[in-house]
Amino acid sequence: MRHDVFIAGYGGQGVLLAGNLLSYAAIHENKNVSFFPAYGVEKRGGAAMCTVVFADGDTGSPVVGSPSVAIVLNQLSFDKYAAKVKPGGICIVNSTLVEADGSQLPGVELVAVPMNEIALELGDMRMVNMVACGAYAAKSGSLALESLEDALKKALPERNHRLIPANIKAIRAGAAAAMQRNT
C-alpha cells in the first residue's frame, strides 16, 4: 500500500516539522518514506509545503500531482491546492483560517478542524501542526497515533523533548476533533 499526503500552509505554521513527524512515524511502522519539501526562498509568512510518500515497497515518485490526502493550514493554500486532491481523497482543513464548504470539492471528503483554536486551548498556537498530524492519522487511518507519539522523540531536537507531553495532547486533540467534526 502506498500513501501520500500533501501539507501546505505559511512559513511558521510548522509545515515541514509536520512532514518530518509523519515521516518518522512511517519509519517507525517499517515503511519506506520520501519527504519532499518545496525548496526555494523560504521565509516566515511565505508559502511552505511538503509532500510525504510512504509505502511497504518502493515509494516511487516523491512528486505528487493529485494527492490522496491534503492538509491545508491557511486560506491561500486551500485556494491553490484543494482542487488537486484525488477523487475519493480527503482534504483536512484548518477551519480557523480556512473558509470552505464541501460543495467546492465534489468527490472529496472535507474534514474541518479548528486547529488554531484547539492549539490555543492547549496553551500554544505553535502546536497547530501537531493538531493537524493527529487529525491526519485518525482520519486517514494510515498511521497509528502511537507511532506519531513515538516519532516526536526523533522529529524534535533533544532540547525540546520536554515539550513532548504537550505535543502528544495536541496530536490526540486533533485526532478526536477530526473524528467528531465532519462537514
Binding site: 515521516s23 518518522y24 518514506v33 519532499f36 518502493d58 505528487v64 500531482g65
Partner: protein, 355 residues
C-alpha cells in the same frame, strides 16, 4: 549501522564520503548542495580530517587535485556555476590520471539560472566538460540510499581506474529526505597508489604527477591508453535498473529524479493494462549501451524523459537498434517545471496508443 536513518540526499553523500575513508573536503557554498560542506565542516575535523572552504571553486578543485596526487581520498562538491569553474581543474586531473570525487547537485542554468531541479548539465558531465578530450565516470543516483551507495562506489571506481568520478544529482534528490540504511564500506580490492607523491625515501624512485606530455608520440599514446580504459569501463562498470521491460511494448528511459517520477507514471500505465517498462541508467558514463541494445531487440518504442530540451536522448538514439524509434518529452529546468507522474502518464498514453 543497520538502523534505518532518515536523512537528506545531500547528507547521505557526506556520510558516505566519510564511510568511504574520505578525510579531505574542499568546497565553496552554493545552493542546492550546501548541506554537504555544512555536514563535513562539522564532522571531518573530529576525525582528524581537513575541511577547507576555499577562496573559490577554482581553488577548491585544485586543492582536490593536490590532495589526490598524494594518494588520499578527497572530494569537492558544487552546482552548475561552480562546476563550470572547476572544469579546468578536472581536465588537469584527467590529464594527470588522478582519482577524486566531484559531486554536482545540478541547478537550472545557464548562467546563474535558478535553484530548481535540472538535468541540463548532462552534456557537461558526460562529455568531460573541460578541454582536451577526456571522460569522467558519472553516476546518477535516484534516491537517498543511492546517494549514499553511489558516492562510495565513486571513490572505488575512481581509485581503480584513475579517472575522476562525478556524482550527478539535482535538488530533488539532494533536498529530499528518505529512509537510509548506512551500511559499512564494501570490501573492494583496490590497486596500490604507487604513483602518489608522498615524499621520497632514500632509494625510492621519483614519482611525478603531471599532465604535460611533450615527447614525440607521448600525448598520442596517453589518449589511446585512456581510450582503452574508457572501453574497459563500459564493459565492466555499466550499471542500470530495469523495471518490467520483459513484456514492454514501450520503454520509458530517464535518469535520477525524472526516473523516480516516471516510475509512478509507469505503475499507473500498468494499472491501466498498458505494457510499459522503465530503463534507468545508473552510470551515465559509461552509458549502459548494452542494456539499450538488448531491450531494443524486442521493444521498438522508446520514450526518453529529461529535465532539459534533450541531451541523454542522443545517447539513447546512438544505443538502440536501428529500427527502434526514440521519442522525447522534456521539461527544461526552472521554477514550476518539475513534471508530475500524472503528466508523464499522459505522455506515455500518447506514445503507447501510437505503438
Amino acid at each position: 549501522m543497520s538502523e534505518k536513518l532518515f536523512v537528506k540526499g545531500n547528507e547521505a553523500v557526506a556520510m558516505a564520503a566519510i564511510e568511504a575513508g574520505c578525510r579531505y573536503y574542499f568546497g565553496y557554498p552554493i545552493t542546492p548542495q550546501s548541506d554537504i560542506p555544512e555536514y563535513l565542516s562539522r564532522e571531518l575535523p573530529p576525525l582528524g580530517g581537513e575541511f577547507i572552504q576555499a577562496e573559490s571553486e577554482i581553488g577548491a578543485i585544485n586543492m582536490l587535485l593536490g590532495a589526490s596526487a598524494t594518494g588520499v581520498r578527497a572530494m569537492t562538491s558544487s552546482s552548475g556555476p561552480g562546476i563550470s569553474l572547476k572544469q579546468e581543474g578536472i581536465s588537469y586531473m584527467a590529464g594527470s590520471e588522478l582519482p577524486g570525487v566531484i559531486v554536482d547537485i545540478m541547478r537550472a542554468g545557464p548562467g546563474l539560472g535558478g535553484i530548481d531541479a535540472s538535468q541540463a548539465d548532462y552534456f557537461q558531465a558526460t562529455r568531460g566538460g573541460g578541454h582536451g578530450g577526456y571522460r569522467i565516470i558519472v553516476l546518477a543516483p535516484a534516491s537517498v540510499q543511492e546517494m549514499y551507495d553511489l558516492t562510495m562506489l565513486a571513490f572505488d571506481l575512481s581509485d581503480i581506474y584513475r579517472i575522476p568520478a562525478m556524482v550527478l544529482a539535482d535538488s530533488v534528490i539532494g533536498q529530499m529526505k528518505e529512509s537510509l540504511t548506512a551500511h559499512p564500506r564494501p570490501q573492494t580490492v583496490l590497486p596500490a597508489k604507487d604513483w602518489a607523491v608522498r615524499g621520497r625515501e632514500a632509494g625510492e624512485p621519483q614519482n611525478v604527477v603531471k599532465s604535460l606530455y611533450l615527447g614525440d608520440g607521448e600525448m598520442e599514446a596517453f589518449h589511446w591508453k585512456m581510450h582503452a580504459r574508457y572501453q574497459e569501463l563500459a564493459e565492466k562498470e555499466s550499471r542500470w535498473e530495469e523495471v518490467q521491460t520483459e513484456d514492454a511494448t514501450l520503454v520509458v528511459t530517464a535518469f535520477g529524479s525524472t526516473a523516480r517520477i516516471a516510475k509512478t507514471a509507469i505503475s499507473m500505465a500498468r494499472e491501466a493494462g498498458m505494457k510499459v517498462g522503465l530503463l534507468r541508467p545508473i552510470t551515465l558514463f559509461p552509458f549502459p549501451k548494452q542494456a539499450y541494445e538488448a531491450i531494443s531487440g524486442n521493444c521498438k518504442n522508446f520514450l526518453t524523459i529529461e529535465l532539459s530540451t534533450g541531451q541523454m536522448v542522443e545517447d539513447v538514439r546512438l544505443s538502440v537498434a536501428r529500427d527502434a524509434e526514440v521519442s522525447f518529452y522534456g521539461r527544461p529546468p526552472g521554477a514550476g517545471s518539475l513534471p508530475t507522474p500524472e503528466e508523464l502518464f499522459e505522455q506515455i498514453k500518447k506514445r503507447y496508443l501510437n505503438s
